[in-house]
Symmetry: C2
Subunit: 436 residues, 2 copies
């Protein structure tokens, strides 16, 4: 695995596809792109159903082939036979640190600054609380209106609980964020790759701007870890959180991760002061005494089954060049945009993702004025899995480890047919499911 570096702006044609020569009619171009893909062989490391084109790895990553055996060994061997002894013998006790260390190179961090724990949302509560405590005289938290809702909800929860009169300020644009950074800002809290449209923030620049104003930064990496090189250490980021079940393929509800800069470790930290974050968890001391290292950001007993699945999923990254992953993400998304625009014109789809490959992650979103949910439902019925995000967004994720260019071609082929035949406008596709 290569060490992460700051992503550089890439030219529009970095994908290497001749965009003036997009082939609207045939699959040959896609086949040729797959043949030239240095990551093509990695798809074999995943188990995907034969009748599905999966464009939702940004929501739940596919199953790595190594996971079932690893989970079975943990359940029957480590739990069933090893029982309580496996906390030592199978080293369950170090799983949060071990898994964190395996995530670290993907986010550009030292191994002992990342730990796997709890959910992304709970981890945001921890790091936001810790960050505010480090800027006690400041009263503003800057976020984006379009940040993933749970991030803003958690900020509201922290604010209400601390009762210190903090204000959550929703910025409507990058320019607004920069304008808002004044000497009353405690924390700038942003998601690196936006969950709706896949647009990417300038982590280095915005972190610097926040620091220049004396504020701390928290980056949510839910949609960027596993998609592109990241450089938390190099960007001097204070705190980061991220998700285990998207592009890291850790399974449904996998443990999340968090990053804390070395300068913020030690001393009082986060408020979820459970025994696993204690300096001596099994010393059963009467009072909390925080661990001096990243373990302080643990709380209760770690979820072993989830950690084991996530660890098996992370092991497949060994030897993968994250720079190549990023390039393929840009190619896949660019090819998808070009094909959709070439073949699905006149159907009211509007691209809301950046056209510049350097400005987007591994997902592409279109809006549709009335049919967003139904078009996605029709696609799913046709075996093409994307997802819908209220109120009007069709979202497609392209996981470079297992998505092929021919998948993109077939997906657009079916989308074009659904639109051309107006097959989406049937009653069964307008019925909302609980989650889409």
């Amino acid at each position: 695995m290569t060490t992460a570096t700051t992503p550089e702006p890439a030219p529009h044609d970095r994908a290497g596809i001749d965009r003036t020569g997009i082939d609207k009619t045939g699959i040959d171009q896609a086949t040729a792109l797959d043949a030239a893909d240095p990551l093509a062989g990695l798809g074999e490391l995943f188990t995907l159903p034969a009748d599905v084109i999966y464009l939702d790895g940004n929501s739940l990553g596919a199953l790595p082939g190594a996971v079932p055996d690893r989970i079975a060994a943990t359940v029957t061997g480590e739990w069933g036979d090893g029982l309580i002894r496996s906390w030592n013998d199978a080293d369950w006790i170090n799983a949060p640190r071990r898994v964190g260390a395996k995530i670290a190179p993907l986010v550009g961090a030292a191994p002992d600054n990342v730990i796997a724990a709890d959910s992304t949302t709970v981890n945001l509560f921890k790091v936001l609380s810790a960050a505010l405590a480090r800027r006690p005289q400041r009263r503003k938290i800057i976020t984006e209106t379009r940040n993933f809702p749970t991030d803003n909800y958690i900020a509201e929860g922290v604010i209400r609980q601390t009762g210190c009169g903090h204000q959550l300020v929703h910025a409507g644009s990058v320019e607004a964020i920069r304008d808002l950074l004044d000497d009353d800002v405690a924390v700038l809290m942003l998601t690196h790759v936006n969950y709706r449209d896949g647009s990417v923030h300038d982590m280095a620049g915005l972190t610097r701007a926040a620091h220049d104003a004396g504020a701390l930064v928290i980056w949510d990496l839910a949609h960027s870890a596993g998609v592109m090189p990241l450089n938390l250490a190099g960007c001097d980021v204070d705190f980061a959180i991220g998700c285990g079940y998207k592009f890291l393929n850790g399974g449904p509800g996998a443990p999340a991760f968090l990053y804390v800069a070395p300068r913020h470790l030690g001393g009082d930290g986060q408020p979820l002061t459970g025994w696993f974050g204690h300096a001596d968890p099994f010393g059963f001391e009467p009072h909390y005494r925080p661990a001096a290292d990243i373990s302080q950001y643990l709380c209760g007993t770690p979820p072993v089954l989830g950690l084991v699945a996530l660890e098996a999923a992370l092991d497949l990254w060994d030897g993968i060049d994250i720079g190549q992953v990023h390039t393929k993400a840009q190619q896949l998304t660019g090819y998808f945009i070009d094909l959709v625009e070439a073949r699905c014109g006149g159907h009211d789809l509007a691209l809301i993702s950046p056209r510049d490959a350097a400005c987007r992650g591994a997902q592409v979103a279109f809006t549709h004025p009335t049919g967003g949910h139904a078009i996605i439902a029709a696609l799913i019925a046709d075996g093409v899995i994307g997802d819908f995000r209220a109120p009007d967004v069709l979202r497609f994720g392209f996981a470079p480890l297992y998505t092929r260019f021919v998948d993109v071609w077939h997906a657009v082929d079916r989308l074009a047919d659904i639109l051309d035949q107006r097959r989406w406008d049937r009653p069964e596709f307008h019925t909302r499911r609980k989650v889409t």
Copy 2:
């Protein structure tokens, strides 16, 4: 499964064993007790290694035989083939409520007042915060010095985070608890069955006393759920939390659960205000709006693999009489105490668990002035798994679903030999492991 009822004080001889006639020498009495045990057949529902006598189900429950296939089906079928669709098709989305409803009868609650989520420690943070918000004019939280440390640590974390000058008062006895209940007490926070010595609190009486003083109560059921009838609703308890991986056999780091009385649902509640606790999680509204039901106590994306294992483990309770489970727990623990005292005298073991079966859960603890850790280590080397709790406690758990009376007999037989031969006093048994 019977509906839970408040445990009644039981006579010392409720276990039905003639304690004056304990058979020190032979296994026949144990064999006869197993033959008369109405729960004896349940052991077949668990997978236990043949060479182990497992007396640590209070720390990590044994593997239910149904779990491996259920987990495998979730991993390969629901995740691998179903992918994101399984949130609907496999009803992952309702797993926290569904699992909570299966725990509910074991704790004497309505199905929609219990939910499975996060860790016990995180759940305590939620309910303690919610309870304090409901008593804003009061400044004291009463706990016990001997409460499980993470509970007291979390109270310290909540107090620091809220910054309202709350005071955590450590009571040294039940009498002290009652004396401390004045009109400045916001919350009485206790563990029902003590983690060290297995002693049981009077849930009904202490809840009433707290309410008489205008305080709310939180009960930690980590060591009581699955061991004895509980009656949270009947005792008018405000909040409760509990553990999935002990007597509920949900696996290492299984999701925990929490209970909220109907009168405390709705309105503002807990501070971990993540999207799964929102009234419309997939509505992507800009501001947090709490769910009106128990879902409000969810936070981030639920840990599906852990929930599936826990659910499979809970399904085996169907048809089990929790009253019989309690009786067997009293018998097993009583038999163990009697055998140890009959066969291990003169070796400085001192019982710290209650002699009265009505006053203890399903575990028994002895102290030893110098050899606590080493004796447990020697027992484990002999295939008898108990655990050590610093500084000097030997702790043994007796899970009524799978522990047999002959297991108790063999365990004490080996303990007696280790003590008689002083086999524990070897260098290898004095080396501390990370977790014991």
